[in-house]
Every structure is written in C-alpha cells, then in structure tokens.
Amino acid sequence: MKFITAVIKPFKLDEVREALSEIGVQGITVTEVKGFGRQKGHTELYRGAEYVIDFLPKVKLEVAVSDKLAKKVVEAITKSALTGKIGDGKIFVMGLDQVQRIRTGETGEDAL
C-alpha cells in the first residue's frame, strides 16, 4: 500500500476531492499548511514594521491507497490540481506498511 501526500492550492481542494472520489478513493485527510517554495510570497506592512511573508497558504492531502490505485491517484491529483502557474504543489508517495480501521479492527487494504 502507498501513503500519498499532496500539497495543493487551497481553492483546488474540492476539485481534487471529486477527482479522487471518482477513481474510487474512499478516504482523505486534509490539513491546512503553509508552503515555502519557488512561488514567491508577499510583503506585509504594519505601521513601521515590514514583514516578508514567504509562506503561502496551501492544503495538504493525505491518502492511503492500495498499490494498484496509487498511480491513478497521482494522476488524478496532478490533473485536477493543475493551474499551470507556479505554486501548484507536489505529490509525495511513500510506502505504507500497515493500515487499521479503528471501528472494525480491519487491517490491510480492507481498511482503506
């Protein structure tokens, strides 16, 4: 199984969720994060104090999927999160040793 983490632009969240639902992903965990990358931030000024804000609001998705679905998930995210402009984000794929559903105690792909 794979544990896929994707960082995307916040306003793309709904589109990505729908794209993932369509290919059969049943669960997603979403976190509001701040991203630092090539996309440049902005400057804020409060009276005399100037702050360069390098961090931009992003949304992080975590999706655990079976190995065979992993590729489709990466594709689906890439497609639905794309704006073509800098800062669209990244997808990270890691190996997932084990999963367990708390409610039922099921493990493995059944638990996804």
């Binding site: 306003f11 709904d14 902005h42 409060y46 804000i53």
Partner: protein, 462 residues
Amino acid sequence: MKKIFSKIGLVGLLSFFLIGFSQVGMSNEVFDLSNGTMLLADNTEVATAGEAVEEAPSLDTGDTAWMIVATILVIVMAIPGLALFYGGLVRSKNMLSVLMQVFVTFSLMSVLWVIYGYSLAFTEGPYNTWIGGLGAAFLGGISGDSISGTIPEYVFVTFQLTFAALTPALIVGGFAERIKFSGMLVFLTLWLTVVYLPICHMVWGGGLISSWGAIDFAGGTVVHINAGVAALVLAICLGKRLGYGKEVMAPHNMPMTMIGASLLWAGWFGFNVGSELAADSTAGLVMINTQVAAAAGVLGWIIMEWMARGKPSMLGGASGAISGLVAITPACAVVGPMGAIVLGFIASMIAYWACTSLKKSLGYDDSLDVFGIHGVAGIVGAVGLAILMAPQFGGVGYDDGVTTMSQFMIQAKSVGFTIIWCGVISFILFKIVDATVGLRVSEEDERAGLDTTSHGETAYHS
C-alpha cells in the same frame, strides 16, 4: 452583457410598474385635487426629517443631548457596525478589505459632506427641485451659534453627515471581495454627488419628492432603496466573484456578523429616533416601533427558514433584524407598535424570499445581499406604511384629503423615481469609472485575496 441588460431591464420594469401604478392611482384622485395643496403642505412636515419648522428657534439642552447621542449612534452603525456585519460574511482573505472599504468610505464622505455635501443637500439653490445650492459650502455661514430647530446647526450638520457617510458604505456589500479600492473611492465620491445628494435634497431638503407628499421619515428611499439599487447595479455590472456558485464562500466569522447586526440594531435608534430631531413624544413612538419591527423581523425570517429547511439560523436572525429595521425606517413615525410588528414581520419574509429565490433565479452576485435586504425591505416599508398608517391599524392616520390609496400611490411613485434615478445614474457612473480608473481587481489578486494584494495586510496571524 446581454444578461446584464436583461437584469437591469427587470429592475427598470419594476420601477416603471410602480410609477405607472401610481399614475393610475393618481387618476382616481382627481376629485381630491382641491385638497391637494393642503395635503402637500401637511405631509411635508411628516416627510422632512431634515428641516426644522419650529417657530421658537432656541436651543433645548434635552433635544441637543439626544441629537448628539443619536449622531454617535449612527456612527457606530457604520463603524464598526456595518463593517463587521459585512466583514464577517466574506472569506478571511478579504476581511480587511471590507473593513477598510467601509472605514475609508465613511471618512471620505464625512469630509466631502463638510466641503459641499451639506450645502447641496440642505440649502436652497437655483435648481431647487433637484438639488440645493453652494451657499454653505465649507460650512460657510454656519457659526457656533446657528440653531436648527431646537438644536445647534452643527449638530444637525453632523447628524446628516452620518447618513451621507453611511449610505455609500452600505453599497460596499454589493461588490465586496472583488472591487478595486481606488475605483471604489472614485465611484462612491461621484455617487454621493449625483445620486445621494439630489435624492436627499428632493426628499428632505424641500425638493421634488417632498413636494409630492411622500413620507420617508428616516430614509427608506434616501438611504436604503438608494443603496440597495446601487449595489444591485454594481453587482450585475462587475460580474460574479471567481468561483461563485462552485467554491464554498461561507462567512468566515459569523460572530462578527452578529456583533455588527446588534450594533446596527442599537444604532438604528439614533437613525430613526434621531430623525425626529428632538426628545419628544414622537420620539417615543419611533423608539418602540423600531424595537418591535426589528424583533418581528427576526421572527419572520427564522420562521421562514424553519419551515423551508427545518433549521433557523443565526445569519437568518441577523438578516431578519436588519430587514425589519429597514422596513420600519420610512414608517417609524406614522405606524403604531402593532403595525410595526406586522411591517417588520412581513418585510423580513419578503426579503428572505428575495435573498433566496429571487436572487437565485436572476443569478446576480450581490455578495452580501444589499439589494435583497436594504432594497427590497426598503420598498416594502416605503409602500407598506401607506396601509399601516391607517388609524384602524394603530397608525397616526392620514392628513385631510389623503386616502390609503392616494398615499400608496405617492409612496410607489417616490420609490419608482428613486429606483430609476439611482439605477440609471449608477450604471452610467459604473461605465465611466470602470473605463478610466477600473473597478475590478485582477483575477490573480482576487484569488489571493484583497487583504494582501490591495492593502498589504492579513487579518489574522497567530
């Protein structure tokens, strides 16, 4: 573009209908014409929240005390009241932009009022039917000792200033989350000059509409219909917000909206009771009417919600309160408390319908429902008072020779006139300012939010 015109057409049609309707009524009134002059003279007294007609021009400390406070209350309506009511409803990335739009509009209009606004609205001028003169520009000719009625003229000037500063700020709700700040300031400056000041003069400064005998005690047409229509025109002309109807645009901070609604409610006593310009018996009537119309408005809206979807909402309660308050504004000195309850209740239900069904079917994006609430409830109040002022409904009754029908026609006509005046001119102003300064921010800026892109700030940090 075609769609825009079709929508504007709709509003236009409505106005023509109202005016036409009033003409029909007028013809029924032919035999009333003998009483006409008297009627107008009498009614004017009720209609003018602006003019002082008392004969003994000596200062009364009680009236002055009340009017100073009334003025402060209207200030609180604008800042922070209206700013929070609106600000809570937008997304957090645009919070400061809304607060700023209201705050700076309020400030700019205050200064303009002193420079030429008061003079054009409340003095006599060569085109007195439409607009006042420039004799009191820079408040020239007013001294510390000038008295207006029983209060210092400066207090009257400041009280009226707050109306002129609040009304343009109300429009902010129509174009929130996408307007260009500089363009907005230019637009609203022009709008004050060629929409607000003339209408204000025509209703309260002794101009056209007051001569019809229209009743607008505290600003149903001048403030609410005016602002509502302008907001509608701008909302349509500017187009929808990016992602409207697709993305979640839920209010980012409902408690702020609740605070705003509450301060509007409290401040509205300054607005309505203050329009009596004295702490007298009528003030008492206006006070109870304002309170119960707002309360009934709350109940009206949440009952609709409860029936329509099983859950009454806080935003519904707040919206209902404002709807009730808007509706009672023109009517507060002529209906009785039970009439005020009825008016607030019904106006709130109609506003609910306007903000849900009507808006959806017409498809415009009036971000914060300025038209749906201020425009629609304002119209209901302005025409509804003609019925509820009848003695059998506990109202103060009609002047000699005026009937429910004739008053209704006059009200409809003044509403229709205001809609057209405001609608047409706002549209023209939009075209001019949009073509020159520009009125909408870039797509990228709208995405990122106006707080950082227009003002270089963020509302919340940790």
